[in-house]
């Protein structure tokens, strides 16, 4: 009697968990579709002729939109600016943050605590848009692509990530390198940087994505210097001026 009951109970459990598993899978498929379908829609819009109602497949298939966008000189220029900003900005930011993290990862580095507070303040408080703009303007950086790179060099969160990664590395390699006569710069580039590749790679990815997507700096600092507009701001202006199929095409390309 007792035994039968447990078996029956066990069967119920198995049935319950397989129902749970099926329902769970179905809901996750729906969620994945919700995440994916908007991209399908914009792709369809980009491949369609004007004047159709478009859901998730192209209507009146055409490559005209792509051709049009690819022939647009301003589009390529914006793309070039974006690449320039992402490559230079990421390299500069990651190297500067890595160097600082290297120094700050030493427990006995002078004023270590004070310097960390100094950087954390940067993370949680800012002068605001107008003062930021005035500093950039006073330095003569406004209307130049440097305004898209230099103000975002200090990424405190990345500094903290790299610093804690370096603190976790074994110190022996660094020591033996310095016994072999390597200076700090050599240690940083030849020992620590290769050893912390996983961390540096993910931090670089974050920084690159942030720089590629960011349009606020361009909006604030570039003013009328349209030749330096990055792709994000170029598309935003395009969407605002003529919300049609072509903007969809640009989004696909991005």
């Amino acid at each position: 009697m007792d035994k039968k009951l447990t078996i029956k109970n066990g069967k119920n459990k198995i049935r319950e968990s397989s129902v749970f598993y099926t329902v769970n899978t179905i809901i996750l498929v729906i969620i994945s579709l919700v995440c994916f379908l908007p991209f399908l829609n914009v792709l369809s819009v980009a491949l369609s002729s004007a004047g159709f109602q478009i859901n998730f497949k192209p209507e009146g298939f055409t490559l005209y939109n792509f051709k049009y966008v690819f022939q647009d000189v301003a589009f390529w220029r914006a793309m070039g600016v974006s690449f320039l900003v992402v490559i230079c900005g990421t390299a500069l930011s990651v190297i500067v943050m890595f160097a600082a993290a290297y120094a700050l990862s030493k427990r006995d580095f002078p004023c270590r605590k004070g310097l960390m507070v100094f950087f954390i303040i940067v993370m949680i408080f800012s002068g605001g848009m107008v003062p930021n703009f005035l500093v950039v303007k006073t330095l003569g950086l406004n209307q130049t692509p440097l305004a898209l790179i230099l103000p975002s060099v200090v990424q405190v969160y990345n500094l903290i990530l790299i610093k804690s990664y370096l603190e976790g590395l074994p110190g022996e390699l660094e020591e033996s390198a310095s016994i072999d006569g390597a200076n700090n710069l050599q240690i940083m580039f030849k020992v620590l940087l290769p050893m912390s590749m996983p961390c540096v790679a993910s931090v670089s990815l974050f920084t690159a994505v942030t720089l590629w997507n960011n349009y606020t700096s361009a909006l604030l600092y570039l003013g009328t210097a349209e030749k330096w507009y990055p792709l994000s701001l170029y598309i935003l202006n395009y969407i605002n001026s003529q919300p049609d199929i072509l903007s969809g095409t640009m989004e696909v390309i991005q």
Binding site: N9, K13, E16, S17, F20, I27, L28, I31, S32, C35, F36, P38, N41, I54, N55, F56, V96, M97, A99, A100, Y102, A103, L104, K106, R107, D108, F109, P110, L115, M116, F118, F119, V122, I124, F125, S126, G127, G128, M129, V130, P131, N132, L134, T138, V154, L159, N184, N213, N214, Y215, T216, S232, I235, L236, I239, P243, S247, G248, E251, Q254
Partner: protein, 313 residues
């Protein structure tokens, strides 16, 4: 040995790491110039209409009078109060509606049995995070557009088409929906990591005791990741005054300013758009926002550290 280490004086430390000091200097300089120098510029909030368009920065600064009028206006102008209200409403909507969803998603993803399917789902739900707000707003302009899929489905069901992006009544909901679509997947990473680190023996024991799936989730998974949930919630509340400038600015149009304008976009409009420029007021509003945010973040971090032992720093 270790006690001697702690007793190193500043001079000893400096001697020991003399050659490392240049490594921290570039970062300090960048922070001083691009973050601390603007903080001095906050003084502009106490100036009466400085004209930076006409004069050089320092000349414009010294030519304008000191005043508290900007702050008086900040606390009395009905428009500004409305925008502060919009900011709070949008932020609270985002927290109440969106905060629990990544937790649920993480639980669901970790309950999947097939590793491949789980990776696929994770890939798809993380994807939107990597796109610019500009692109996402553009995509949803189509989706919610007059001839987009949503209105197509609506008209198939016999409803009148709605111009969602231009309706003051819809804009806050759309801000929440788009923000959720972009960030829920990515926010679930922290919870997925937390769930992965739960000891599987707990679930084995629960199964032997005859606990079903829901009971296991409710009694083991959720309590185990509660510290993570609490830290995330406190940090999120710390950013209450930030309703998302990049998102909202890309979404707003003249029709939806009334219900959609937030402090960030208003500060931008006052400081940078021709016709309504008022640098003093813009800086004052920004300062007000910044100070409240600072207090909230410091408070949140303090509570988080005290309650759970973890903070952002």
């Amino acid at each position: 040995m270790s006690s001697r280490k702690n007793k190193l004086t500043l001079v000893d430390k400096t001697k020991k790491y003399k050659s490392l000091i240049p490594f921290v200097i570039p970062a300090v300089l960048f922070a001083l110039v691009f973050s601390y120098l603007p903080m001095v510029g906050i003084l502009i909030a106490f100036k009466d209409h400085p004209n930076f368009l006409r004069y050089e920065v320092f000349e414009a600064f010294s030519k304008s009078k000191w005043t508290l009028a900007n702050f008086e206006k900040l606390f009395s102008d009905p428009d500004i109060l409305k925008y502060i209200g919009n900011t709070l409403i949008i932020s609270v909507m985002k927290i109440v509606i969106l905060f629990p969803l990544p937790v649920i998603l993480a639980v669901m993803i970790t309950e999947l049995r097939s590793k491949k399917f789980s990776k696929l789902v994770q890939g798809l739900v993380f994807l939107p995070h990597f796109f610019s707000w500009v692109v996402i707003v553009g995509i949803f302009n189509n989706i919610f557009g007059m001839y987009g899929p949503i209105n197509n489905i609506g008209s198939a069901l016999g409803m009148d088409p709605v111009h969602f992006m231009g309706e003051p009544g819809w804009v806050r909901w759309l801000v929440v929906i788009l923000s959720g679509w972009k960030e829920i997947g990515y926010s679930s990473i922290a919870y997925i990591a937390a769930i992965m680190s739960i000891d599987p023996a707990l679930y084995e024991a629960a199964k032997i005791d005859g606990a079903g799936k829901f009971k296991q989730i409710w009694k083991i998974t959720i309590p185990s990741i509660m510290p993570t949930i609490i830290v995330m919630l406190i940090i999120r509340i710390g950013y209450l005054m930030d309703a998302g400038f990049e998102q909202v600015y890309a979404m707003l149009n003249p029709n939806t300013l009334e219900t959609g304008e937030i402090i960030g976009t208003y500060v931008y409009r006052l400081g940078f758009l021709a016709g309504s420029t008022d640098y003093g007021l813009s800086t004052a509003v920004g300062l007000f926002n910044g100070v409240i945010s600072l207090l909230l973040i410091l408070g949140a971090n303090y509570i988080s550290k005290k309650k759970t032992g973890n903070g952002v720093w």
